[in-house]
């Protein structure tokens, strides 16, 4: 019956719903970088605390991770999920503050929903029982024990199913879902992994290594490690061939190594290999000595050092008289 009061109530409810809808989709202005950083840091746990997010914790580990998040947000390359995945890839899954949406962890979402459903159903049943008990008009037909047990079993199963389904929905909506791949990301990461593969292949499978280094150079022509080691491996493999090929290889190797040195004058490996190649394949002891000296100045890594030391003594002997 449409009394005036009911109309007022309908009006109130409609207006409230409308205002809520308006407020829900309202544009609050652009999301600043700090807002984004805060959102992300609230999802990551501090590794040395218990349960605190890195947004909350003042520990030094938290500050470092916050700084990294700030850096990545500043770069603007990764999405929120990817930044969280980046941190989780290094610190392990235990820094994810929001339990996952799948697997055993999802139980934490499912159980409260199941409990709520169970309690609501129990409450409903209790009210029904009380209402029936107080009804004095028609005597209620009492069900047989087996019928009651069956309806009880069906009720329990239904309740649990509804609860679990509801819980799964909540988990899917609220739980953490991250991109599956580890080490997702830009050019720099895939370059690093190709270089790593090339390095592994290096001593035994020279051809593969050269191919891999070439691939790196396609996307990053100024990569000194690829330039240097490709040139070096080319020279090494050319030594078993004839004069003409060797000379060609020598020329390209020297050019490539020279370019690497130009790009990064402090890179020891390029300098060292240049010294070796110039002497062993070019026969120029004096230039070689110069390169070798400069190479040693730059503190080459041990494997390269091993090659250089032998050469250095040889050169000294050669240049003495």
């Amino acid at each position: 019956m449409l009394t005036r009061r009911r109309l007022v109530w309908v009006a109130i409810i409609v207006v409230t719903a409308g205002l809520l809808a308006f407020g829900a989709v309202r544009d609050t202005g652009p999301l600043t970088q700090q807002d984004r950083i805060d959102t992300i840091t609230k999802r990551i746990a501090c590794p040395t605390c218990d349960g605190e997010s890195i947004y909350v914790s003042r520990a030094s580990a938290s500050q470092s991770i916050r700084a990294e998040v700030a850096r990545q947000v500043g770069d603007g390359v990764r999405t929120d999920d990817e930044v969280v995945a980046y941190i989780a890839d290094r610190f392990g899954g235990e820094v994810l503050l929001l339990p996952r949406a799948t697997g055993v962890d999802a139980l934490i979402w499912v159980l409260p929903v199941v409990l709520t459903v169970v309690l609501v159903v129990a409450l409903w049943l209790a009210f029904r029982r009380w209402r029936l008990a107080s009804a004095t008009t028609t005597p209620v037909q009492v069900a047989s024990p087996s019928q009651r047990r069956r309806s009880l079993a069906i009720g329990v199963v239904l309740t649990v199913v509804v609860g679990v389904a509801g819980g799964a929905l909540v988990a899917r909506q609220a739980g953490q879902r991250l991109p599956l791949e580890t080490f997702t990301g830009g050019i720099e990461d895939s370059t690093a992994s190709i270089l790593a593969q090339a390095r592994l292949a290096g001593p035994s499978d020279v051809k593969t290594a050269i191919d891999l280094y070439s691939r790196v150079l396609e996307t990053d022509p100024d990569n000194v490690e690829a330039l240097t080691y490709r040139a070096w491996l080319v020279m090494l493999s050319a030594r078993q061939f004839d004069e003409a090929l060797r000379a060609q290889a020598f020329a390209s190797t020297v050019t490539a190594l020279g370019r690497a040195i130009q790009i990064d004058p402090e890179y020891p490996d390029a300098m060292c290999f240049l010294g070796i190649v110039v002497y062993r394949d070019g026969g120029d002891a004096a230039s070689a000595k110069e390169f070798v000296d400069r190479c040693i100045e730059r503190d080459p890594p041990v494997q390269v050092r091993g090659l250089i030391d032998a050469l250095a003594t040889e050169l000294d002997a050669e240049l003495k008289p």
């Binding site: 407020g23 807002d35 218990d50 605190e52 503050l97 139980l107 409260p112 609501v120």
Partner: protein, 650 residues
């Protein structure tokens, strides 16, 4: 050396005496209650007095040792220091495990003594006798804990002349003097209603006055617990420097869980008072509340989980777990066997009645408690079952408790206008009209000031709705009874509700609309953010015996200077940041100093948080405390008209 070790021996002797007094007192009370023997029962007050005196003496001896910097004791070596100022040194006693257990003994003994005094003329009643027995058993157990695994009077290695002092976080704000003791007054206070619940089960009845008694005790303890939890939030805000008040830390959750079940009890017991129903449920709530205090203490002290408060892993874990298991086992057996005897006839017939609303309320609180408990222990369970570590933190709790909180606001609005025993739908639509308009007005106001997002807007609207309903009740009460309309359970309760609404609204606003930014300031230049200006005046360094502090003096909006700082505690090597806050009615401007800090460079990096409505959190807390006080004040006998009004929920 002889004198020094005398303190340790004295302390231990006192603890042993206290344990024996409580132990024999418990025996006397139990035997006296069982056999209905007044002579045996007359011994009980004497044992209580002795045990309480011993608790006070033990605490006094510990404080004496701390004040005189008696480094022969291991505990003083751990948390005492010649450089700690007097007040913080006094509070240092409860800054670590052994001292906190000692304080627990003290507070519990105080409560036992108070209960004994209150019931001194009724000791011959079986309910009272059994309750005293339970209280003394618990007290004896805590004395045992303090004498055994958590002994503060252990003699430390000789030759130590100074100590590091308490954790720096516990030395830089006076709140450390208040927060733990008040929290304990709440926490430990729940032991008394628990004792009466167990007594009711053992005696098989709830007589006249049991309800009245337990309700008053519970509300008082609950009041302290509420205030203590709020002080913890204030401490987090003022000291920890992340600008928040609640982090769903396991220790915070441990104090919240008994609060949730305690609140459920306070509401549910009204159904018992009016209709005699839900007795078993209410007794279970009291038992749950106390059990949760023990469980919470176990979780945070045993090192099973780690946090800012959990001081150390110690041998006390198994003892606390054993206590929890014993309490739960005994209680469950008692409820199973004796629950039926408590049951009264009658039923709750209508979901739209006041009783129905309280039942729904119970469900809501049960789910709330379950969510908090599950989130706190879930990492433990996963670690035990799958040997991997996960963390459950704020995002989880927020997502589940926000809907629960919103539903609670709704019920807070609707329940007070519902009548007892009748279907209240018609009445509801009439009485809630004005409150609904208040809610709508609140929604409009919040939209006008720029709020957005479904959850905070709903919180504001429902908050207005609930406030309207509470105010409606108060206005009618004052109209009839004038000033006395503020006093008494129902009216005080409405004021408490108003406090809760203030807190909910403030939380919604500050959680949803905080803005922050890191700003690099240079002296002389003015930076702006969120409508405020910030100017760095100077960066100064202050040294004292225990620390070096670097402060940045920042003028906010051209007004006075605020000084966020970083303090390095030289002995411990720990850096603690201290925020500086400018409070106003609409928002707080919260400043922290970010490392690294270069004092002579004329530069400082600060982080600015602009947090709306924070002040109202503390206002709401005081309103709740005030309302609680009003609720426990006695009312005069009401006239038949007033009683009829109340029954029909008018």
């Amino acid at each position: 050396m002889l004198i020094a070790s005398a303190t340790a021996h004295l302390g231990r002797a006192i603890l042993l005496a206290g344990f024996l007094a409580a132990f024999f007192g418990a025996f006397a009370a139990a035997i006296g209650a069982r056999r209905n023997d007044p002579r045996t029962l007359r011994l009980v007050p004497r044992f209580v007095a002795l045990a309480s005196f011993m608790a006070l003496a033990a605490f006094a001896v510990m404080e004496w040792a701390m004040i005189t910097r008696d480094f022969s004791l291991l505990y003083v070596q751990k948390v005492g220091s010649s450089a700690t100022p007097a007040l913080y040194n006094f509070a240092a006693v409860w800054s670590a495990l052994e001292g906190s257990i000692l304080m627990w003994v003290l507070v519990l003994a105080g409560y036992v003594a108070a209960a004994m005094w209150w019931m001194r003329k009724r000791l011959n009643e079986p309910l009272v006798g059994w309750a005293m027995a339970v209280l003394l058993v618990v007290l004896a157990y805590f004395f045992l804990l303090s004498y055994g695994p958590a002994n503060p009077f252990v003699i430390g290695p000789p030759g130590v002349t100074d100590g590091p002092g308490p954790n720096p976080l516990l030395q830089n704000h006076l709140l450390v003097m208040f927060h733990p003791p008040i929290l304990y007054l709440g926490y430990v206070g729940m032991t008394v209603p628990f004792a009466f619940a167990i007594a009711a089960l053992i005696a098989g009845k709830v007589e006249d006055g049991w309800l009245h008694l337990t309700r008053r005790w519970t509300v008082t303890a609950w009041g302290f617990l509420t205030f203590g939890i709020a002080l913890g939030g204030w401490w987090s805000y003022e000291v920890l420097g992340w600008s928040g008040v609640w982090a769903w830390d396991p220790v915070e959750n441990a104090s919240l869980l008994p609060w949730i079940t305690g609140t459920a009890y306070i509401h549910s017991v009204m159904v018992q008072e009016r209709r005699g129903l839900l007795r078993v449920w209410n007794v279970s709530l009291l038992i749950a509340t106390f059990s949760l205090t023990i469980l919470g203490t176990f979780l945070t002290r045993s090192g099973v989980l780690n946090s800012v408060h959990a001081f150390s892993e110690s041998d006390i874990g198994p003892w606390l777990l054993a206590m929890f298991v014993i309490i739960v086992a005994v209680s469950l057996v008692l409820v199973y066997l004796r629950g039926d005897q408590l049951r009264a006839s009658g039923a709750i017939d209508n979901v739209f009645s006041r009783e129905g609303a309280f039942l729904v309320n119970n469900v809501l609180f049960a789910v709330f408690a379950f969510v908090v408990l599950l989130g706190t222990v879930f990492p433990l369970v996963i670690e035990a079952l799958q040997q991997r570590q996960i963390v459950v933190g704020e995002p989880f709790f927020d997502r589940l408790t926000i809907p629960i909180g919103l539903t609670m606001l709704f019920i807070m609005a609707v329940a007070p206008v519902l009548p007892w025993r009748q279907d209240g739908r018609e009445v509801m639509s009439q009485r809630l009209l004005v409150p609904a308009l208040v809610g709508l007005a609140a929604l409009v106001l919040s939209l006008v000031v720029g709020a957005s997002g479904v959850a905070p807007l709903l919180a504001f609207a429902l908050g207005g709705f609930a406030a309207g309903s509470a105010l409606r009740h108060l206005v009618r009460a004052v109209r009839v009874q004038r000033l006395r309309g503020f006093v008494g359970r129902a009216n005080g309760g409405m004021i408490v509700h108003l406090g809760v609404i203030l807190i909910c609204v403030a939380l919604a606003a500050s959680n949803s609309f905080t803005r922050s930014q890191e700003i690099d300031l240079v002296t002389g230049q003015v930076a702006t953010f969120a409508g405020h200006t910030f100017e760095l005046i100077d960066v100064v360094e202050v040294r004292d015996a225990r620390s070096t502090t670097v402060k940045a003096l920042v003028k906010v909006d051209g007004d006075k200077a605020y000084s966020p700082s970083i303090t390095k505690y030289t002995r411990i090597g720990m850096n603690v940041g201290t925020p500086s806050v400018r409070t106003s009615f609409t928002r707080d401007v919260y400043l922290t100093l970010e490392p690294p800090v270069r004092q002579d460079s004329g530069q400082a990096r600060i982080k600015v948080f602009v947090k709306p409505l924070i002040l109202w959190l503390w206002v709401g807390t005081f309103v709740m405390a005030f309302g609680t006080l009003l609720a426990v004040l006695p009312t005069r006998r009401r006239s038949i008209h007033e009683i009829r009004d109340e029954v029909s929920g008018r």
